[in-house]
Symmetry: C2
């Protein structure tokens, strides 16, 4: 089977959200044209995406069964069994992520946070304990944590990543605007807001024409 592309993987939570919306509204079948229009992509792409994760085929002209597609998407996305994670760096962004209650629905569950500053370590934020960095290695080993979220300042990100990997972390969700160097066996997913802004500004420029810039 063809490996999943990044763009394709990013669409599955959007499908899931739309199917759940349809379910709440009482729909039992989801026609491809409706799905395609909602996500702003072609019907062909919708069919390919959903066939790759759901065994059941859609019924021609009627659509896909909403309930079984939701179950298949949740299974594929691993939402039944949330991944436990630690967060490193409790600044503004780190604190906001801890406070944000919605990650459990996306398969992530925060166990604890770590921070280099004595001002926050020892406290609780959004009900999660914040520990000093010195407690990190033993925590990862004791709790068998596999995933870490990095929200430290840029200049600290690489050394934190190295420490995490040395202690057994295999997945990093990186919010620091730095390209981390890690072994190939470690998965890094970057959330880079400046990249997102670059896309936005470019398209605004195209729409607005040169006179507006």
């Amino acid at each position: 089977m063809k490996p999943f592309s990044k763009n394709q993987l990013e669409r599955y939570p959007l499908y899931l959200r739309y199917f759940k919306e349809l379910q709440e509204q009482g729909f039992q079948l989801a026609p491809s044209p409706a799905i395609a229009s909602r996500l702003g992509i072609s019907e062909e792409l919708v069919r390919k995406d959903l066939q790759a994760v759901c065994k059941e085929k859609g019924r021609p002209r009627k659509g896909r069964d909403v309930a079984s597609t939701i179950a298949a998407l949740e299974r594929f996305l691993g939402y039944g069994k949330p991944e436990h994670a630690i967060l490193i760096g409790v600044g503004n962004l780190g604190g906001a992520l801890l406070h944000f209650g919605g990650f459990a629905d996306s398969g992530l569950c925060f166990d604890a946070a770590f921070d280099a500053s004595y001002q926050v370590s020892g406290k609780q934020i959004a009900g999660k304990n914040v520990y000093p960095m010195s407690a990190l290695p033993s925590y990862i080993k004791a709790k068998k944590v596999r995933l870490a979220v990095i929200t430290v300042p840029s200049e600290a990100a690489q050394s934190v990543a190295t420490l995490l990997v040395e202690n057994g972390i295999v997945g990093i969700w990186n919010f620091a605007p730095v390209t981390l160097k890690v072994p190939k066996s470690v998965v890094v997913e970057n959330v880079d807001l400046s990249s997102s802004l670059a896309v936005l500004f470019h398209h605004m420029k195209e729409q607005g024409g040169p006179n507006h810039w």
Copy 2:
């Protein structure tokens, strides 16, 4: 010329960051193999990307001039003239974005924030005034704002987007996990953390093998 792909646009801030790093370290020329290795992409892609935005060609076997490439990237990304923006929804995430000082370097500058709650409107957050939603239409018109950042809860996002568009906003940076319906002339860039997590989990699953899940 070929239009820029989303992935390509997302790479330009990464190039800029690496070139600035090289400049700080005293390098005057950046060889393509070094750039390719740092960004984890092919040399061919590096050359295509940079040729699309810099008139000056790289010197064979020596590399690209660091200073002029930085200037070209900043011009392309519009960083010389930051776009003024308003932020709607001062919850945890909205507050974190206002506190985060780094957006000016990425071409975005917050003018003010708006919130439906009486508890926050009328206050200042990170030095920015927070106004009630009723002040939104006149503010957009008076200040000629083109860009808005949406950090309201999902259920409020569509009505906020509609209000923004009606009042002249042409670019939306959307952090609400909702596919917004807007006219084609309005640019929406979504920051969807559940999509990012879906990519991360899928690759962790591939690495770890089925026994680990």
